[in-house]
Point group: C2
Chain length 191, copies 2
C-alpha cells in the first residue's frame, strides 16, 4: 500500500536494535483516516462476508482492529496480556515472547467469546518476529475456529515471522513489508 | 443512553469486589456497532469541531476511542502503561492506581504527539475509581493543552471517581452511571 509505505519513509525512525518507530500514525498517536484506508485494503484482499470476528492482541493492535471491524460490521475481540480480575473462568491462552518488551507474556481470550463456528480474521498493526500473531493463531486453533487470514499493516520482513506463517500456509497479507532498515534508508519488499 | 443500559442489565455480570463485567460487548469482545452509536451520543454532547485529538489509556479504552476518533476524523492518542523500547525521549507521565489490576501503573504519552495548542476529548470505556481518567487529565495539563471534556461509556457512580471530576468543574459525560450493583439488580442514576 503506497500511502502506508510513504508514511513509513517520511515519518518512521530507525532506532538501535532494529526498532522501527512509527508511533506518530500507527501505534501511539493513531491516524484514524489512514486506519480506514488500511481497512479498505484488507477488504479488497479478504472476503469479509465470510468472516464472523476480528481478533487482535492488546494494546497497539486494538485501534486498527476496531476500525476494520467497525467498517465491516464485525465484532472485535482483543486478547489480553495479563490475567485481570474481570476475566473469570475458562480462557484460551498462549505464551509468546514480546520483542518490544523483551519478556514472556501470555495472551488470553475468554472461551465465552470465541467459538468453534467462528471464522476469524486476525488483524495487527505491526509484525516483528510474529510472536503475537503466532499466539493468536494458537488461540484460534484451541477454540476449534477457522483462521481465514491475517491482515497486518507493517511487517518487518527481515525478522522472518511473516514468512514462517506463509510457509505454514497461512493467508497473511501485509501492506508494507520492510526488508531492511537503516536510518534514512528503509527498503520495502517488492509486491 | 438506553441501549447501553439495556445491554448492561441483560449481559452484565456482577462479581465479588464490586466488579461489573461487561466484557461481551465493551472491553474484551467489542460490539463495534454499539461503539458507533456511543460515538454518536458523544457527538451530540460535545462540540466535536472544537476538538483536535481524542485521548485514552491502553488497553480497553482504545476500541471506543478509535471509533469516536474515526467517526469525527480526529487522531487518537492512547497513553501507554509501561515504558517500552519504542517510546524514546520526552514523556508526559502520571502515576495511577489501577482498580482492575490492584497495583500502581504509570501512564505515558510522548511529548511529540500532544501539544499546548491541542483541544482534548478524553474517551474511556469504563470508569471505576476514575484513576485512569485522572492520570489522563494530569497529562493534558502537563502538556499545557485544553481539556474540552471527558466522554465515558459506563461509570460506576458509587465509587465517586466521576463525581470528584464533576466537582472539579470537568465536563464529564457518562452514558450509563451505575448507582448500585448486586447480582440480578443493577440500578442506574437518573439523568
Amino acid at each position: 500500500m503506497q500511502e502506508l509505505k510513504d508514511r513509513i519513509v517520511k515519518e518512521g525512525k530507525v532506532l538501535p536494535g532494529n526498532i522501527i518507530k512509527v508511533d506518530g500514525f500507527l501505534n501511539h498517536r493513531v491516524d484514524t483516516g489512514l486506519m480506514e484506508r488500511i481497512a479498505d485494503e484488507f477488504g479488497r484482499h479478504f472476503n469479509m462476508d465470510g468472516i464472523t470476528v476480528i481478533l487482535t492482541a492488546e494494546a497497539s493492535g486494538i485501534a486498527l482492529a476496531s476500525i476494520v471491524a467497525q467498517r465491516f460490521q464485525k465484532p472485535m475481540i482483543f486478547a489480553k496480556k495479563a490475567k485481570s480480575d474481570n476475566i473469570e473462568g475458562g480462557l484460551y491462552q498462549s505464551d509468546i515472547f514480546s520483542y518490544t518488551y523483551k519478556k514472556k507474556v501470555t495472551l488470553l481470550v475468554s472461551k465465552e467469546w470465541l467459538h468453534a463456528e467462528d471464522k476469524v480474521l486476525i488483524v495487527d498493526d505491526f509484525m516483528a518476529n510474529g510472536e503475537a500473531v503466532r499466539g493468536l493463531c494458537d488461540i484460534v486453533e484451541a477454540a476449534g475456529a477457522e483462521l481465514v487470514g491475517i491482515g497486518c499493516a507493517v511487517e518487518k520482513g527481515f525478522q522472518g515471522g511473516g514468512d514462517r506463517l506463509r510457509e505454514a500456509g497461512v493467508n497473511l497479507h501485509s501492506l508494507a513489508v520492510i526488508e531492511s532498515a537503516k536510518p534514512g534508508n528503509i527498503v520495502f519488499r517488492e509486491n
